[in-house]
Symmetry: C2
């Protein structure tokens, strides 16, 4: 690959991603969906699809599309994911999380557990029952873990629009969604730890615990040192650069020495630094790197790798059921436990609906699975469908429930009493 | 190369670059020198050197250093150079340039021509006379063109410190340095155009003119369209992204279709957009991408590729003479013509000294030559030496001349009369 060709690829990717992202926003769907579609259009997917419908209409040298997946794009995409997860970690508000306490934690746990189990069962319905410990069981667990992470941004946007973000339901959803990211990452870490067929669950637990321990101790040291540097040189260039260095190192250590996904390391690095004074400064600088070049490459890269040629009726059916199960899992898990925790029926429903949205993290987990050879690219279809459907459906449902049962319209006393 | 290994390389590179850059700044030398030294330390150069001095002291599996040059680093470095040149273009002040007019232009021309000729002659002194049109002649011209570009940042810093930046001499140096970048790029374009041994100078001129014509017409169209988008969506993310897209495309077109260096395309893209309202906004966003990741990779990459093992007495002598000739070339060219243009003797000297500094652009040109196989990595030594010496010497000399001959202390009337 000539050096100047990467410039061509990059130009096409960032411009197409921005354009399709804006189009998606106009259509009220998340811009990441637009960016993935951009990848489908500029990559081998679109010409392949046209050729499938009208064979021979595309000359053979146009079949590979404008941009092809390459090592370079894979590497840039990997950096993109790392930056996104680092940013997510940096934006975590640990104080807020502590305050919201046990209630949100319990809701988050059920919001992770139910879709995880549902997802695994769905996979087994298609591929037959798998005994714990087998490779098939691991795949099933992986499909389940894709369903776990809530993407709260669309819910936040909708609640803010409706004026209910600061209410008790809104705050509960927000906290639970953040905690469910953390739990989701732990689940993923554990599931990916089992990717090595020779490793036993005990070993995975040991490795995971060891890594968390090392990160905790290392994290405290990093935090203390960083805080001093930050206090002495606030708002200087060295601050985000050192932060980014820590993120890259922790990601590398996680994957290289503990067999844990690098994205877990990046997320943890963000959490380690989320309480330093310049956390939002680091986040801003990292985000600019992310949205200008790396993140578009990641999302477009998903589109480039998506391959509909292996799509059949069974896979299509699976995708539709995947969406239904993922949405139902969150509703059943979160609404159910909320009701048990003393929320009234409409509020429980609101919480369940608010937790249904999925986004970047689901894609990141899927992409990780693809890179590790756990699943093939056709599963992206199901995940993309889930993101689109959830982000279209949730705002509509939230609005409907809120207009039928505004906050306080339902016998609030009972719920308040129970919740206090 | 495993994906997670790029994270390790990146972490080491950005942290080492920042650290050594800060050390360099403390020592009052440009931070890019520190970043290059970081590359020497973390790359194969340092262990190789130690091994050369005390054979066998370094175990063979440590001989390659912490970080090795790789495709990935090359690609990231290339993007780094493109971003630096785009940024330089964006920071060009066309109005200021027009105002300073003919005088600065003439000084710049001589500041390019004299070192170019001197450099070529120096090369021929070592490799024998080369007739125009031969490959050797082309190498000689290339060595000359490395000497052409002034790096004004150190001079600006020194003049600002001395309180003379806004004076006539300061403004003349500033304008001449900017113009000499443009002329330097044109010279480089022309010299690199001759890299193909089958191409004749006529063809190179036609290609260069054609490219400038295409860029001019395309540039006007881009500028008009961009201005409209910018007016409608000021300070939105799409502005820097579209700008960057244009930069990548023009760089690609330059190299792919006209055989012109991609850095020329990037610089031109910057000049095309330097007058839009959000130019400084684009520049800020691009700079953040540049200084966080890409630019350090470029400068450290130079250190990684530097190889002292091919260094011999002849090369060492060449390096020392290279520095002397490069500094003398600017003094003779710029001071000489300034005197002819009516500046008094001390002012002419100040201008000549101010134009002696070299920096990033010299490195970028050298690195281009290395990638194209025109020169080998040992020439980096000469260029790095030139940057270090010039940036140490110029502030000292400027201060000395200014304290001996403060502005106006010399018969100013004569020079004012002549200059008006």
């Amino acid at each position: 690959m000539e050096t100047y060709e990467i410039l061509r690829d990059l130009a096409i990717i960032i411009l197409a991603a921005k354009f399709m992202g804006l189009v998606a926003k106009k259509c009220k769907i998340p811009s990441v969906v637009g960016e993935i579609v951009a990848g489908l259009i500029i990559g081998p997917c679109l010409p392949g699809l046209i050729n499938l419908i009208i064979p021979g209409v595309i000359p053979s040298n146009f079949l590979s599309g404008l941009v092809q997946p390459s090592d370079f794009i894979n590497w840039m995409a990997e950096i993109g994911v790392i930056l996104i997860m680092f940013s997510a970690g940096l934006e975590t508000n640990l104080k807020e999380l502590k305050k919201s306490g046990l209630q949100a934690l319990v809701i988050a746990c059920f919001g992770v557990a139910v879709p995880l189990v549902f997802g695994a069962i769905l996979y087994m319905c298609f591929h037959g029952f798998a005994a714990p410990g087998t490779e098939e069981f691991f795949c099933a667990a992986f499909i389940g873990s894709i369903m776990t992470a809530t993407s709260v941004s669309i819910t936040v946007e909708s609640l803010r629009e409706l004026g209910h973000l600061q209410g008790r339901v809104g705050q509960t959803i927000l906290s639970a969604a953040i905690i469910d990211d953390v739990i989701g990452i732990i689940v993923l870490t554990f599931v990916l730890g089992m990717k090595d067929p020779s490793s036993n669950p005990g070993m995975v637990i040991v490795k995971t615990v060891l890594f968390l321990l090392v990160s905790f101790v290392g994290g405290i040291v990093c935090y203390k040192v960083f805080k001093k540097v930050d206090a002495r040189y606030p708002h200087t260039r060295r601050i985000p650069i050192i932060g980014l260095g820590i993120c890259f190192i922790l990601s590398y250590i996680a994957e290289r020495y503990f067999g844990i996904a690098d994205i877990t390391g990046a997320y943890l690095a963000g959490i380690i630094l989320c309480n330093v004074r310049d956390a939002s400064y680091i986040d801003r600088k990292v985000s600019i790197n992310s949205y200008m070049i790396f993140a578009p490459v990641f999302f477009v890269g998903i589109g480039l790798k998506t391959d509909f040629s292996s799509m059949d009726t069974s896979m299509l059916l699976f995708s539709v059921l995947f969406v239904v199960v993922a949405l139902a899992g969150k509703i059943i898990g979160c609404s159910g436990i909320s009701k048990c925790l003393g929320f009234n029926m409409p509020d429980s429903l609101k919480i369940g609906i608010g937790m249904m949205t999925r986004g970047e993290v689901a894609l990141i987990i899927t992409s990780k699975g693809l890179n590790l050879g756990i699943i093939d690219a056709s599963y992206f279809t199901a995940v993309i469908l889930l993101i689109i459907v959830s982000s279209v459906v949730v705002p509509i449902l939230l609005k409907a429930v809120y207009s039928k049962y505004p906050d306080g319209a339902y016998p609030e006393k009972k719920s308040e009493k129970a919740a206090s």
